[in-house]
Homo-oligomer: 136 residues x 2
DNA sequence: CCTAAATCAGACTGATTCGTTCTGATTTGG
DNA sequence: CCAAATCAGAACGAATCAGTCTGATTTAGG
């Protein structure tokens, strides 16, 4: 039930990137300085976030990052899924993986889907714009 | 964002134990047979669940387990917390641990509390009685 | 056109945690 | 008093995670 550190850092990094909303070019090193995270860690994070389609990267001298979508269209769920993969509390709800010995006779399985949806909904309800606000 | 296997197994085990609601004595080996889990694993689980106050154990010949409380008074959140510890997505919301470099200037921290409460609420809304129902 | 600097992208290593198994201490019934 | 059956705790191996490093690609300037 605990979020991985990388996912936590990813949220902080995206939040920092959102503050440069109009800025087309923000280097990973600059984000590392603002967030206080190690530079290599931020580099790995931006790679994952870019691969997930949340950031757009420009290489070469003077290159950098920018948000692929408006900050309002990016939620906590998007960021978490980009780093940790699909949100699935148990292997049952992942994508129909049938590696459980109980299978059909399991009475708890149908309820996991409901709980899982509630979890995802709680994360999807928080847009990146709210996280970037300086004042609570 | 994934539940540990032990927590998953604990839910199944508790669900199996709840079906023997009136039975005062249910051995761990019997629960293992009903759930299809390895016997040593179930033994470790019942140790944790007993320590958390969800099960009451009787030792000696003919001993066994029984629910410490009515099944309606046990929720998913209780079981998960018994195995995985307190529900806290990030270290910030655990118990005021101040190991984050950002500390006061972190804009995302106040929102974690809200999300965390939503998560816990989703788990607390599912009582053990519903999980033990044979038909969905 | 070429050189050089700066960037992202992928691969590797060490450590921590998780899952499993095993052995021992305790208790009750005969 | 003896013996069987149970729970409780400790030890081992495996897998995942966090962090670091080196290399490939691209752009700006000379």
């Amino acid at each position: 039930m605990r979020l991985s550190s990388m996912a936590d850092y990813a949220v902080v990094t995206m939040s920092a990137a959102a503050r440069h909303c109009g800025m087309v070019r923000v280097s990973a090193a600059q984000l590392a300085q603002e967030t206080g995270l190690p530079v290599p860690t931020v580099q790995k994070l931006v790679s994952l976030l870019t691969a997930a389609g949340l950031l757009r990267s420009s290489r070469g001298t003077g290159g950098g990052l920018k948000l692929a979508r408006p900050a309002a269209a990016i939620s906590l769920a998007d960021i978490v899924e980009a780093v940790e993969g699909p949100i699935a509390l148990t292997s049952c709800v992942d994508n129909g993986k049938h590696d459980c010995a109980l299978e059909g006779s399991c009475t708890v399985r149908p309820h996991w889907g409901v709980v899982n949806a509630a979890m995802r909904g709680a994360l999807a309800d928080v847009p990146l714009t709210r996280l970037a606000e300086t004042a609570a």
